[in-house]
């Protein structure tokens, strides 16, 4: 560890442009070395696979040639996709699940945050907060297992109903109510965690505003309407836009895990389609095309959403820091 005076006199940010790249390489070699492990992982599991997407344009056969030798067939795979009723079903399911969750899941964390914020006793609030965050740390397998034990055909609810002489119900295998089931699961698992960001926003609202409103005669609900909600507005708008940008990502494990119980008609989404059409039937090029389609549309949606966020004066998530 010898002192290197050049670093002291010229910290990276200030006159970086004056140095040649060799000098910069020399100066920053330890930083680059630190970056190396991450860079290697990103190269191996992001860049190379991202480039490997060329198989979407090939009649890919891993045995007789691989990426280099397989014949290029252009957009045939994509054309086939758009005629594939299974694929269209997956697209429709994905979009309707997003829409449904936007209406029935999105407001829940906000309401939960308002409720938590309104608890006066600090200890009680901390306790309830701790409890509602917890399921976020459970895996989907676990959540599905727990729901099965509660709402399945042999579950607690059916058991209690039978004891009272009613007929047992099985919510876990009913494809008509599947969208309701997964939304309930999402609320149970994620709503508490989702409330954190709104709680943070609530804590930044200036208490003087409340006092001024109270002096002016605004009671509880009016203060909620005229101060709290406008205070939350930027965060709500931002998250709403981002959710729209993320419309194609409805989760994956939740659907894979329950696919056999409710059938593919109700539970097929983009990601499960990629898995089944590509890996399970072995048509890798076709599956990759479906995955690439989803990735590119998703990318466009995210960029568009971020642009809208910026246009509305929000920070967006992918802004340059």
């Amino acid at each position: 560890m010898t002192a290197r005076p050049i670093d002291v006199e010229s910290p990276p940010a200030r006159d970086a442009h004056k140095l040649t790249w060799r000098a910069k390489l020399r100066r920053d070699r330890s930083l680059l070395l630190m970056n190396l492990p991450m860079l290697l992982l990103v190269l191996a599991f992001w860049w190379v696979p991202a480039l490997g997407n060329v198989i979407a344009f090939q009649d890919y056969n891993p045995y007789t040639g691989g990426i280099l030798e397989s014949p290029v067939i252009g957009f045939t795979n994509f054309a086939l996709l758009l005629q594939d009723p299974q694929f269209l079903r997956a697209m429709l399911n994905t979009l309707s699940i997003t829409a449904f969750q936007l209406v029935f899941y999105f407001p829940v964390p906000i309401m939960l945050a308002l409720l938590l914020h309104s608890i006066v006793s600090a200890r009680l609030r901390a306790f309830v907060q701790g409890v509602v965050y917890m399921p976020y740390f459970f895996s989907w397998v676990l959540v599905v297992a727990i729901f099965q034990q509660m709402f399945g055909g042999a579950g607690l609810l059916a058991q209690l109903l039978r004891e009272r002489g009613h007929e047992g119900v099985d919510w876990m295998t009913n494809s008509d109510t599947f969208i309701l089931l997964i939304t309930t699961q999402t609320i149970w698992k994620d709503a508490g965690w989702g409330a954190i960001i709104f709680l943070a926003a609530l804590s930044t609202i200036d208490p003087n505003l409340y006092e001024a409103a109270a002096v002016d005669g605004a009671r509880r609900w009016r203060r909620l309407w005229h101060i709290t909600l406008p205070g939350l507005r930027p965060v709500i708008v931002l998250l709403l836009i981002l959710r729209l940008g993320d419309a194609l990502n409805v989760g994956f494990e939740q659907f894979m895990l329950q696919r056999s119980a409710v059938g593919s008609g109700a539970s097929e989404v983009f990601d499960t389609f990629v898995y089944w059409s590509g890996l399970r039937t072995g048509d890798l090029g076709y599956g990759a095309a479906a995955g690439l389609f989803k990735g590119l549309v998703g990318l466009l949606l995210i960029l568009a959403a971020n642009r809208v966020a910026h246009a509305l004066g929000e920070r967006g998530v992918y802004s340059r820091s």
Binding site: M34, F45, M134, I146
Partner: protein, 306 residues
């Protein structure tokens, strides 16, 4: 939104002078809702833990999950841990979680620190390569081909390497590191410290909380991971707990005979199923209280500042 660093969600515990007391009806309503929410989370856990601890007779009499305790036995747990399949899965999950968390946290801290110095050599393209991970996922199939191409199928590395770097965690760490005043780092540099020593002696001790939270996120991720294992691990002897959970608890299938131990070929009893669920939940519950108070600090700063 820099004020977010001050503990979010906190406010003075007493009512402000101008605030009116809640009406009894309002209080009752709010109390009911809060109680229901807490019950919705803790209720299932309660009955699952209780069932896993109940003797077979109690479970049979209840005809399912046990709501009222009637004797406690560790029989289900004893069976699980004498059963080679489940106890091996617990070992696999534990090993993968420990190794993975160590690798992920180390790689992320190093990477995030190297990216926290704007103007350094290749800073922009390297940062860009991380930020791209946010907006585009290469797709399941190319990643799968890469993993099998590297010969990682049926190897524990396939459970760690493909998901070892989380762009989100790197960005969280990076924005925390960037908030450390430059003067502190400069003074260390004047005293002759190199980047490694600065990171180890100054930056990390100042970022214990956020590093702990990131490590916990990685740990929970590895413990819970199901998808990687489903894709890459065919050899049932190398299954992590998540796959056992799926096979044995969700689908109620007996475990594959070739690897089955004592309870392997018998249909799983409810108490054993629930004991597996409890084991799967346990680690998250144990670490959780220790890092919970750091959540908001670490996570939201990173999430909002990007």
């Amino acid at each position: 939104m820099t004020t977010l660093t001050s503990r979010p969600g906190r406010r003075p515990a007493r009512l402000a002078p101008w605030e009116e007391r809640p009406s009894p009806a309002g209080q009752l309503g709010k109390g009911t809702v809060v109680t229901l929410i807490v019950l919705a989370v803790l209720g299932p856990l309660y009955t699952i833990v209780l069932t896993s601890l109940s003797p077979a007779a109690t479970v049979n009499r209840a005809g399912g999950l046990v709501l009222v305790p009637d004797g406690i036995t560790l029989e289900a747990y004893r069976q699980i841990f004498s059963d080679t399949v489940v106890s091996r899965a617990v070992l696999v999950s534990t090993g993968v979680t420990l190794a993975g968390t160590l690798i992920s946290t180390g790689v992320s801290v190093l990477g995030a620190y190297s990216l926290s110095r704007p103007g350094s050599f290749l800073h922009r393209p390297l940062l860009f390569s991380i930020l791209l991970m946010f907006v585009f996922f290469p797709g399941i199939i190319p990643v799968y081909l890469m993993v099998s191409g590297l010969g990682l199928k049926d190897s524990y590395w396939s459970l760690i390497l493909p998901t070892a770097v989380s762009a989100f965690n790197v960005v969280v760490l990076r924005s925390f590191f960037m908030n450390i005043p430059g003067e502190v780092l400069d003074s260390a540099r004047i005293d002759g410290a190199g980047e490694w020593r600065i990171l180890w002696r100054i930056v990390l001790p100042m970022s214990k909380a956020v590093t702990a939270v990131v490590a916990m996120f990685y740990a929970v991720g590895y413990w819970n991971a199901w998808f990687n294992a489903m894709l890459y691990i065919d050899d049932t002897r190398r299954w992590p707990l998540a796959l056992i959970l799926r096979q044995y608890v969700v689908d109620s299938n007996p475990l594959p005979a070739a690897t089955a131990g004592v309870t392997g070929d018998a249909p799983p009893t409810l108490a054993i199923k629930m004991a597996i669920v409890v084991i799967a939940v346990l680690p998250a519950l144990i670490i959780y209280p220790f890092v919970q108070r750091h959540f908001t600090k670490g996570v939201i700063v990173g999430a909002v500042k990007g």
